[in-house]
């Protein structure tokens, strides 16, 4: 058929070339951010070296790095503890966030019943809540999981609910005309429609997750970056406090990168729709 031949020529260009081009473009896009960070670090280093500042007040970046390196064993053990709390808390948050989004999507009554308490939960000052949660649930993993979930579930729930609502009524009618049940329509239309929204929510909430875990540890724990920071602070080891801060920031960046990667792998069609490369 001639139509097809013409249309075939409109198909997107080769995959390898497009990928190389996009990698180069992303490297170029990252340059300004790298420059700003380097500039800030250099300024800080100069100020600490030349300004004759007390190391317990502001140690230089190089001192932070070397102190962190010397304490790498302890730092690493505590990082693992924090990472464990973060991941377990986030997994719990995903489960709860998803379950809530389904309930809210199910009926108007549930939506009106659930939304106000959920919004109120987000107004609670964590600084006051964290010690209470530790008093209630002890020094183990439980309070950390709960606090990480508390600061992360809301963005996920809201994103999913909004995503379900973006489903095309025509697509739902089509599925119904084929004889699909309501559950099936949810699974085959509403849920996939919500996926790009979900990942947007995920990107926001993952940046709170590590901080949430550290907060919980700060309020009382036997291990973790939060308790490490507190001990270092009490010993006036500002360099170690900052080393732990650096580690927690790196952890957040790494988790953020994982969500981006997951998004690319799990919802490839969105990049196609944006005129990206041809799928495998």
């Amino acid at each position: 058929m001639t139509v097809t031949a013409v249309e075939a020529q409109r198909a997107p260009a080769g995959r390898g070339r497009a990928r190389a081009r996009s990698a180069r473009r992303q490297a170029v896009l990252a340059l300004p951010a790298v420059g700003v960070v380097a500039l800030l670090l250099a300024g800080w280093q100069l100020y600490a070296d030349l300004g004759d500042v007390d190391v317990t007040i502001l140690p230089s970046p190089s001192r932070v790095v070397s102190a962190g390196w010397d304490a790498r064993d302890v730092l690493w053990a505590n990082t693992l503890a924090t990472l464990r709390a973060t991941l377990l808390g986030f997994a719990f948050s995903l489960t709860v966030g998803f379950a809530l989004s389904v309930l809210i999507d199910l009926s108007g009554i549930l939506r009106r019943a659930l939304m106000p308490p959920l919004i109120i939960s987000q107004t609670l000052p964590i600084i006051a809540i964290a010690p209470l949660v530790v008093i209630w649930f002890g020094f183990g993993l439980t309070p950390k999981i709960l606090l990480v979930a508390l600061v992360t579930f809301f963005a996920i729930t809201v994103a999913l609910v909004q995503g379900y609502q973006a489903a095309e009524p025509e697509a739902e009618q089509l599925l119904r005309s084929m004889g699909a049940s309501r559950l099936r329509v949810f699974r085959m239309v509403r849920l996939p429609t919500a996926m790009p929204y979900f990942f947007a929510g995920l990107r926001i909430s993952i940046t709170y997750a590590v901080v949430g875990a550290i907060f919980a540890e700060y309020a009382g724990a036997t291990e973790g970056l939060g308790i490490f920071m507190q001990n270092a602070k009490n010993a006036f080891r500002t360099d170690l406090v900052l080393a732990a801060v650096f580690v927690s920031a790196t952890l957040t960046l790494a988790l953020f990168a994982v969500t981006i990667l997951a998004e690319r792998l799990l919802i490839p069609w969105t990049r196609v729709a944006r005129g990206g490369e041809r799928p495998a």
Partner: protein, 255 residues
Amino acid sequence: MSVPRLEIRGLSKSFGDLEVLRDLRLRADRGEFVSILGPSGSGKSTTFSILTGAVAADGGEVLVDGRPLEQADHAPFAFMPQKDVLLPWRRIEANLTLGLEVQGVSKAEARRRVRPLVARFGLAGFERHYPAQLSGGMRQRAALLRTVVQEREVLLLDEPFGALDALTRTEMQRWLEAMWERDRWTVLLITHDVREAVFLSDRIYVLSPRPATVIREVEVPLPRPRTLETLADPRAARIEAELLESLLGDRAPAA
């Protein structure tokens, strides 16, 4: 005459105070291509919504092969909505098998049934593409394939070519006519394109503005297969004029 494949008797529907359908009567025989022509907003899509069960009628009856729709053991209609609604996250192949999947047919079997149709519908080589990578005409053909492969008693096509440019639209009409010649599906086509109705149909119903009711029923005795010459036939021109006249009715020409 035998029992019609589809018969709609005295259908009525209001949305609140808005009366949309009033005593609508239609019929389609087995293997007949029937078009519904009407001004936009008259209630054409609503009629399909009632047939597919998305909307409940206030009154009237729908009979399929002489039996009330409620007694049917499966959905007798394969529906193609006004928008193509190909699911963007499914590759074309998975979009084509959607209806069969919902019917409970296994993935492998569904693919086996879709495969012979792919080339006929001009989609060969595009099975692994996402819908966003297809042109408008291809998307419509994919949506149509998804509809016919369900092998239901009646195809309900709601302005399938409404969103296409004029050239692609003509091309698609010719293509659909050729497809129909071969398979002789029972088709109910909604359109507001008079030419399209004449070119494709055996019979055409003209609906009034809201509340919709049939104001005219026109047979199209033009020979098949139909080609571009068919439209040049003086009989075709006469039917077109007749249809336009009943559509525009006694509305005064714009000043």
